[in-house]
Symmetry: C3
Subunit: 276 residues, 3 copies
């Protein structure tokens, strides 16, 4: 491909208008996620508790913005002032849960529809991460960690509000904490945030701005499609295992086991006794 | 009744001063609610954990303002700066929990006292909803949904903080979520918020401003008194059932059952299998 | 001791620079607390969930500032913008959890190290309470209760975020509520806040400003060391029992029991029946 044409495409991707089509895709996947999360009694639940159902779907749709606002001291409800997004979200929620003969849900679950919506959602995700990093950078120009946190939260807000979202529906699952088993989306948003921060704050990345953005969009879409079509769920896993082995004790633990088997056992049993 | 005199009364109601008498009524019912919620061991609990008891009572009293502030990016603690309300609340809490021979509690539970306090609380509720809608309208003049949410929260804040209030007392009841089974107060506050928003933002309601307000006050007081004296707990129920039948799948579900009994069964069993 | 020399020392204590040594001590004790809280499987947990481990440690380190900001409508993430503190915290966390052969943890647990760190942490605590009261006083010059709450939260923030900190690690212990059984640190921070507020807002305390501050530092350090070395855990207990007996029903309850044994029993059994 011609590099100039490539850069041209990148420049167009960065300026892509999100409303309304990308919002529809995002809302659709959010409503589907809520419905899947409800499991077999989704239909019954949606009939009995429409308010809780609507609220939890809205929370999934607006999760990123709400959580980021909450942590930055901005109004948590502010994302709802975007009436267009709210109406699109409500319409999609209604279609997924309440259309006659469940046509809406069946269409949404149809593979080609799901693939297109997923790809669009990933493009949206890249934009959200980018906007989140930019917003945090405006507020705290020197606090890289805040930029990274906000970028990650904007990218996969729904992962972090899962507990509250389920609580709205009367279910409490404290072990389903995103931090314990971060999903691929969280890790990808984290990586994207770090790259955007490096691109913004250092000279280490010499590629043009639009190309960096475009690269992340391609990365996100590519792995999303692999996940749906090929079942590859976490390309970060080997990297993580390596990192854990080197930095988080893996090698040293093995070494300690080999060198001082008896000593290690003593330490372990002491710990156990104390905690009893 | 003479219409002019009626309007006159309405104009006086809208200007009614809340402090201190309405605050006393509100605090009294809040403290009673906490005591009832503690059940049989309220006495023992209040002796053993006065701090948790006081804090949860304060949370109930200031719930609406705190939740609304939290969602609008304003200081959650700000309602506590009103020293007068705080002192009234503390005094009432002390009277309900710690007076010798439980005189305070017994007087507060005395039916006529409770009826007067309840009626006053409903007048206060109307004012809170009205103020909440007005406050949100100032911040987000075009976001109807935010006005309605804030109005509802201000009207029945304690319903939405029940989980936190109990958590302060060391009890966790995730299924007692207001959104799952909204109480009459939540529904009434929602309706009042919607009417206030329509009155404020559209020309659909031609009645004078004060009359609309007065109408809502009468509606709230009337149903509160019916609830205490006649045991009518939710006049919205028939309306809701109708609404659910038309909009949230009731009719279509029945139709689907009649038309395609076999097909529906297939779908159900497929869902069940997937979730297993 | 010469009073002038004493005042001189006090003046120097009030101007003590906290970064980086006091931050190291504070972070060290925070990381140790997280590790103790994890119990026997701390080692395994830190290897499996480094992200959750790091986040919960950071939450403990920055708890006071985050909670206070959250309640005052300021950005919850703002304390993280202090890059120096963040790096110190991360380094200490790494040393406590991941050094080869657990050297870091063993050194940190060594009694003299722990004593020095604890004493430094108490000096830091006094400063935090003082800053918290001052900050709240700037925002709400007349709301004593807000100053006291913020001072207490800044002094023992980690106590109040314990539930969230554990939740990040996938554990949910709703009964471990600080308000139910306030720890010595909470009570001491509360007392210190009240003294600072009185010193700031009234003329009741005639001692020079620096002396009041110094007195609180000595009080905190003294009781911390007694707690570690002598096992005296709560010097407030006798005072509390007295206070509960006089103000929170103790005496009246006893009187009621003596005067009307039969009547009290009736009331109790009625209560029990109602709650069944």
């Amino acid at each position: 491909m011609d590099p100039e044409a490539f850069l041209d495409v990148a420049n167009q991707v960065i300026k892509l208008k999100m409303f309304p089509f990308f919002d529809i895709a995002h809302s659709l996947l959010a409503a589907l996620a809520v419905r899947e999360d409800l499991g077999a009694n989704a239909q019954a639940f949606s009939r009995k508790h429409p308010l809780a159902c609507w609220l939890s779907t809205m929370l999934v749709i607006f999760a990123g913005g709400m959580v980021a606002n909450g942590l930055l001291g901005e109004p948590i409800l502010a994302p709802l002032k975007n009436t267009g997004q709210l109406l699109v979200g409500t319409a999609v929620w209604y279609v997924v849960f309440y259309t006659p003969f469940d046509i809406g849900y069946k269409v949404a679950k149809f593979l080609p529809v799901k693939i297109v919506a997923s790809a669009m959602k990933e493009i949206y995700r890249a934009k959200k991460v980018y906007d989140g990093v930019g917003h945090a950078a405006k507020l705290y120009p020197n606090a890289w960690i805040i930029m990274i946190i906000i970028g990650t939260l904007k990218g996969n807000g729904a992962g972090f509000t899962k507990l509250i979202e389920r609580l709205i529906r009367g279910a409490w699952t404290p072990t389903a904490m995103e931090f314990m088993q971060p999903s691929f989306y969280t890790k990808a948003s984290l990586l994207a945030s770090i790259i955007f921060v490096l691109d913004k704050k250092t000279d280490w990345i010499s590629a043009p701005h639009a190309l960096v953005y475009f690269g992340i969009v391609i990365f996100l879409v590519y792995f999303k499609l692999s996940s749906i079509l090929l079942g590859i769920h976490d390309p970060f896993l080997p990297l993580e295992n390596l990192c854990c082995a080197i930095f988080f004790g893996g090698i040293w633990d093995s070494l300690a086991k080999i060198l001082g088997r008896g000593q290690a056992k003593d330490g372990d049993s002491k710990d156990v006794k104390k905690s009893n």
